[in-house]
């Protein structure tokens, strides 16, 4: 990873995933929801904690805790 006078950082995908540089964190976060989406239910994550967005309600709980109780998220 290297920089210059113009604020441009160049990083491999592996380095970007491990980086705490705000630009690379933004880049990775933008890609996380890309790819084939088969359903409307997506596990949106914040700081690597899975949340699920259902309508206008946000479930602020790890999906693992919900499923451990036998409830549907």
């Amino acid at each position: 990873m290297h920089e210059s006078d113009r604020d441009v950082v160049i990083a491999s995908a592996d380095a970007a995933l491990q980086s705490s540089d705000g630009r690379l964190v933004d880049l990775v976060d933008s890609l996380l929801s890309e790819g084939v989406c088969l359903r409307g239910e997506l596990w949106l994550s914040v700081a690597d904690v899975d949340l699920v967005f259902a309508g206008i309600d946000v479930v602020l709980c790890s999906h693992d805790k919900i499923r451990a109780r036998g409830e549907r998220p």
């Binding site: 210059s4 006078d5 113009r6 604020d7 441009v8 950082v9 160049i10 990083a11 491999s12 995908a13 592996d14 380095a15 970007a16 995933l17 540089d21 705000g22 630009r23 690379l24 933004d26 880049l27 990775v28 933008s30 890609l31 996380l32 929801s33 890309e34 790819g35 084939v36 989406c37 088969l38 359903r39 997506l42 596990w43 949106l44 994550s45 690597d48 899975d50 999906h63």
Partner: protein, 213 residues
């Protein structure tokens, strides 16, 4: 088992991955403990993209079991195979542009403006200036990218900036520094912060048109 995506029929992946064949494609999955978070799944998808000639990734935020992905592979195998062929030998390069922080979160207006109307007019003028500056930055990025890549481009805007992804032959990854130099020299990008990264799986080019749930 958590599904990561699909590859062509008959492909062999490293031992940590599970391969399940369908008539026109192969579903790739890993143990659930290895794919607990979206970033975990993305790291594994990077491995798939590196070792397989063609790989169609599921969205890392999507937690899908192997059985469901195999079922999808059966029902939409032809679409998946077509998409895999289009992605063969190509990887994604991603460019993130963060807008200049000047004028954020809103343009500054002189406190000495005589009336509220004048303040609103000055504020609107500031917003127009911000929009014009962002348009110049976006145009400069597109120009630098278009001279480096002739591949398809995906562009997304948000409040913080702009993300542009392009699909290129795998061999172009070694030439990423050339694009970096072009971005550093581009005249319209002053004040913007840029990040250039790759190769990624074709996450922004994975859409299966007409192959819904």
């Amino acid at each position: 088992m958590i599904a990561l995506g699909w590859t062509a029929q008959g492909m062999i992946a490293p031992a940590r991955f599970t391969m399940a064949g369908q008539p026109h494609c192969t579903t790739i999955a890993v143990a659930e403990r290895d794919a607990a978070t979206p970033r975990d799944r993305m790291r594994l998808q990077l491995d798939c993209a590196r070792t397989l000639p063609a790989f169609l990734p599921l969205a890392p935020t999507l937690r899908m079991c192997l059985d469901e992905a195999c079922d999808h592979g059966h029902r939409h195998g032809m679409s998946i195979a077509t998409r895999l062929e289009a992605l063969r030998g190509r990887v994604q390069i991603s460019l993130r542009v963060l807008w200049p922080t000047e004028g954020q979160p809103a343009p500054q207006v002189e406190a000495s403006v005589p009336t509220g109307r004048d303040w609103l007019v000055a504020r609107a003028s500031g917003w127009r200036g911000t929009a014009a500056r962002r348009a110049r930055i976006a145009g400069g990025v597109r120009d630098a990218l278009s001279t480096w890549s002739a591949g398809p481009v995906s562009e997304r805007h948000d409040a913080r900036g702009l993300q542009i992804d392009t699909l290129v032959p795998s061999r172009r990854v070694s030439d990423l520094d050339t694009l970096g130099r072009a971005l550093r020299c581009a005249p319209d990008l002053a004040g913007a912060a840029l990040a250039l990264s790759g190769p990624w799986p074709a996450l922004s080019f994975a859409s299966l048109a007409g192959a819904g749930p």
